[in-house]
Amino acid sequence: MKALEVKNLKKVYVDVKDASRSVHALRGVSFDINEGEIFGLLGPNGAGKTTLISTITTLEKPTSGELNVFGLDVVKNARTIKQNVGVVHQEVINTGYFNVTEILEFQSGYYGILNNGDRIQFLLDRLALKPHAHKKVKQLSGGMKRRLMIAKALVHSPKLLLLDEPTAGVDVELRESLWKFVAELQKSGMSILLTTHYLEEAENLCNRIAIINKGEVNYCGSPKEVIQKYSTKKIHIKLTNGDTKEILTSAAESLNNVLAQHKISLADIVDIQMTEGKLEEAFTKVVIAGREAHGAAQ
């Protein structure tokens, strides 16, 4: 079964400033997430990532299209689905009357769980929040707040976890430990949808990614594929005559073709080094290509 199926999803907002205008935040988005997969949703600001997550959590209602979580329609089965979904919002929480433990206890209660002490202790421990268990939100640093939000999303052990830029504004060390934790969650069987700006991490962590821009998915597949397709690799060749050659080529191009094109025979080569393309470059290309296609269509 798919953890998430998004089919031709559209969302139109009324413009905040000018009510007569509408904002097309999602223009027919389709993709799906397999059970147990980490899926990355990558896109520039305003692409529609948060809107997509909001439609899954029922904070926003889709204008049209289909949205299924574990085979159930989100709008029709909201209550059942909510029990199985956890979300870490993009905006950081910063005020409130309650301390960390109280917040996690209330959160457990909202999901129908009494006496959730063991799970709460585990999360406090795993997210290094134990020393801060009795602090109020405003006494926490940015990174601690972010960890608290993650703990909140996990009190009820959801089957699908939604992370909306969980590492934005978080220092390198914490970021690494967070990704390690996310990988652990995946091992425990959780399906994870995350949005991020840190492409390199998406490349290492995600089984598959979708690149979204202006409410449209421009690419969906494994990070390897997109790099192959859209980025350049660098080939550094040392020749027997002492020369060195640097060749830039599409990541998908085979080495044989490259050598043939440059009229280099294998016998002339002393050493060869290849630097694989980066997701970042592929991402930029996909986004620009999408923008151009979009512009042409208009």
Partner: protein
């Protein structure tokens, strides 16, 4: 996927959160009504009140105490739900509640019960302070005449103004709009609803106008249950209050369905 949850736990959690929240602002909840009701009692009850002759023959302080109590109930139940929602808009708690498997009915009833409890605490404190004054002025502790009616009006009042608070807090786009509602609508309706006065001395035209104010019925019903006097008959009062509860409930529901859970 088919894990079914106990519906009571989220609901009771919401109520517990409401209570814990106003316990954290204890000074506002407990101390300020002691101070303000003592002041009202001293100025109006003891000082000015001695010169007032009510048409119904009651000592003014006997008339005033239920008015002050119900005013505390009204203000605090309104404030409890509205400030709970507004602060949750800031902290993002509102999003958590929306994302969790909690229904709108549960949210409204939990806020309603939270409002009744806080309003009752304040009315009780006001009543205790009032009864001490009453003992020295009149010679008895002002026994409650119709305890069952009293309980009913307490619950109705608490619910109506909690529901009202939900509605306003959801509809309001800024703090200013919220406080404008308090200043320009809630407080005038309460004061003109007969907290401090009976309408019997007014010109018949103004008496008719007063009958258009729903808060007038609530205050008179509440006062009737305590001391047995009212400017309207009991049946009309009960009908109006029940209607008001239904209407405010629907307004609260409307605001939850249409309003935004997003942050300020």
């Amino acid at each position: 996927m088919e894990k079914t949850i106990n519906n009571w736990i989220p609901f009771l959690t919401l109520i517990r959160r409401e209570i814990k929240r106003f316990m954290k602002v204890m000074i506002q909840t407990v101390v300020s009504p002691i101070v303000s009701s003592s002041l009202y009692l001293l100025i109006f009850g003891v000082s000015l009140g001695s010169q007032v002759n009510l048409p119904n023959g009651l000592p003014y302080i006997t008339f005033l105490i239920p008015g002050l109590m119900v005013m505390g109930l009204i203000n605090n139940s309104f404030q409890n739900s509205s400030s709970s929602i507004v602060t949750s808009k800031f902290s993002g708690d509102l999003e958590d509640i929306r994302v969790a498997p909690i229904t709108n009915h549960q949210i409204i009833w939990a806020m309603g019960i939270g409002g009744i409890i806080r309003g009752t605490v304040v009315a009780f404190i006001t009543g205790v302070v009032g009864m001490i004054f009453h003992y020295f002025m009149v010679g008895d502790f002002l026994p409650i005449k119709h305890p069952l009616l009293f309980a009913m009006f307490t619950v109705l009042c608490g619910l109506i103004f909690s529901f009202c608070g939900i509605f306003i807090a959801f509809i309001a786009k800024t703090f200013d709009q919220l406080s404008a509602f308090s200043t320009f609508i809630l407080i005038p309706l309460t004061y003109l609803g007969g907290v401090f006065m009976t309408i019997q001395g007014l010109h018949p035209f103004w008496q008719k106008v007063c009958h258009l104010n729903p808060v007038f019925y609530l205050i008179n019903g509440y006062r009737y249950s305590m001391v047995g006097v009212s400017d309207v008959d009991l049946t009309t009062t009960v009908v109006v209050c029940l209607l008001a509860a239904v209407v405010t409930y629907l307004m609260a529901m409307y605001s939850l369905v249409k309003g935004s859970f997003a942050r300020w």
